[in-house]
Symmetry: C2
Subunit: 357 residues, 2 copies
């Protein structure tokens, strides 16, 4: 939403999803999988998480490139490595993270239905897009959803000058009653890596505390930061609490990497990823109606907090994204010219009908 | 460890634990419970988490005061509200959080032994001290331990000017092989509330981004901050990522408060607390030996990161606390004169033998 309006075109989300799904199919992805993957990407764009949407859908970037060159498995054979009533470990056969993540989270939800609590780890997957998608799958089941993934090495530990781990995001989604669900989806860096790309595209500078340059000094130039790949952990400096951001990133690496066997922190090869999913049935603890009533009370209490000077509202996690999704579902998703160019190139390359503009 | 040496006396941790346990017994706490509670407090002092140790043990503060006046139940009747193979919800009868937390975490571990994963919520408890104590109980069982608690209202939401929730800490403890375990124990504020007290006692100022004053402006005066009770969430400002710290604090409130029925964010009465404990059996996913080998690799990789100018080491979560505990076990726990004064007063009030100096 920080983009200047004149370079943006509003695109209908249903058309966009059909286009992306058709393109995935042309690339050899089974129809059902193509629809899941398209949905994950377009949900990100709908929710305003532009860094995890179709900005990644061009012949030169990510999924299309990887599928074209064959480094991403179009028809992966998922394999259960270990399983119990409450847990599973899945090998993703280097297939699309969006599809594997969807199926693994569904498995966690199914197990939680009977067991109350369940956790599913994934090894040998690839980039899975927006964490919130998976966490939110738990909401219709009156469960708390958890989703995490490790990511390629581009974050320095507190006091360190070289990257050792990824932006390692975590999502927690919690149902409410009349209020919107609580959906916390956060990179464990101050900013997700895609925010550098967005700033670079728009020619904007980035705040201090986000990233180091190649000499390990703080930089406000997004292109320098992209080149150096030395993001700072959440909070930036030790005094502001970066040891906590660093610690949370390693927690994500432990659950997604060490528990599964795909540790990006030990691997200069950026491709394989590990994920971790969890589902907690609310009524294993309290009646759902009581829980949701109290969620509404908590959310109302937070939203009604008086603001500091210069601010109009206090938000609850996920609120802005829900509002954005509603607006974009109605008026279309604003896509930058450079993103549309990538989509047109995909259409040409694959021979897919293009009806987005 | 920031205290000036001349005001500190080294006290043997075994003597300190015996003194605290004897005092709890005099206050009507059963022997076994008194030993558990004393152990939790002294473990905090051993690990250098001075804010959660015997600094809270004087006739005018916390446990002793509450037990004396009867607002804290010395012999609580714990009640299981709901239970399954993987979950439980316990009512703590307003007993000591240290004792209730210990028993609830043990219950989670027992359940995880057979179920693989388990979670136990607690309502109607009181302040439980240092979160790391509970998470670390999982380590000898080759499990990942989780412990969280809500806390009294003294933190503002991002953009808010009035406190709505607590410092809500979370701990994750993970076993390694030859390396020290990973133990992340963090308040979801930039600094734990006790750090204000420590700074105030020592006449030091606090960094910006920690707290607001009574006019909702940032302050560096710890006494102003203590009076206003308006701490900022982890990361301080929105630009530095405080919406993530705020989100994590609310996640803790949801798991400890909404899931249990003791929501401190809705309650100006600061007494009752909710906790949340979890245990994950490593071998439900991967063989323990493989997991621990990879934990060692990850920890070694992080510790060997080259440092930025002016820093000597990159740490892993928990490392400093383990080193401190080793040193203090050998040479004694350095206690500030004002803390010793409180202990002497407790000894006089209760008629407990005092042999600490």
């Amino acid at each position: 939403m920080e983009n200047s309006a004149e370079e943006m075109t509003r695109v209908d989300h249903r058309k966009l999803k059909r286009f992306v799904a058709s393109s995935f199919e042309k690339l050899g992805v089974p129809k059902e999988d193509a629809e899941i993957a398209a949905n994950v990407l377009v949900q990100a764009d709908l929710r305003g998480v532009d860094t995890h949407g179709v900005i990644r859908f061009s012949p030169h970037a990510w999924y299309v490139k990887w599928l074209t060159e064959g480094s991403l498995t179009a028809r992966p054979k998922l394999r259960v490595i270990s399983e119990s009533a409450t847990t599973a470990l899945i090998d993703g056969d280097r297939g699309m993270g969006m599809v594997i993540g969807h199926r693994a989270m569904e498995m966690a939800i199914e197990k939680a239905k009977s067991a109350g609590v369940a956790m599913v780890g994934v090894r040998n997957s690839r980039h899975y897009g927006m964490s919130a998608y998976y966490g939110m799958l738990a909401l219709p089941h009156d469960m708390i959803g958890i989703a995490m993934t490790n990511a390629s090495r581009q974050v320095v530990p507190t006091f360190g000058r070289e990257a050792r781990f990824g932006t390692n995001p975590m999502c927690f989604a919690v149902p409410a009653d009349k209020e919107l669900p609580f959906v916390l989806d956060m990179a464990t860096t101050t900013a997700a890596a895609g925010k550098l790309e967005l700033a670079a595209r728009l020619g904007k500078s980035i705040p201090g505390g986000w990233a180091l340059d190649e000499n390990a000094a703080q930089t406000t130039d997004p292109r320098m930061a992209q080149k150096a790949r030395r993001l700072l952990p959440l909070c930036g400096t030790r005094e502001s609490g970066s040891h906590k951001g660093y610690g949370l990133a390693i927690l994500v690496e432990i659950l997604c990497g060490v528990l599964t066997g795909t540790i990006t922190a030990l691997n200069a090869n950026q491709d394989p990823r590990g994920h971790f999913f969890g589902a907690i049935r609310v009524d294993a603890f309290r009646p759902v109606a009581e829980f949701k009533r109290d969620m509404d009370r908590l959310i109302t209490e937070l939203r009604s907090t008086p603001t500091v000077v210069g601010q109009e509202r206090v938000y609850v996690a996920g609120e802005i994204e829900f509002e954005t999704a509603q607006e974009r579902a109605e008026h279309g998703i604003p896509l930058h010219d450079s993103v549309l160019k990538g989509l047109r190139q995909v259409a040409e390359q694959l021979g897919v009908a293009y009806d987005l503009e």
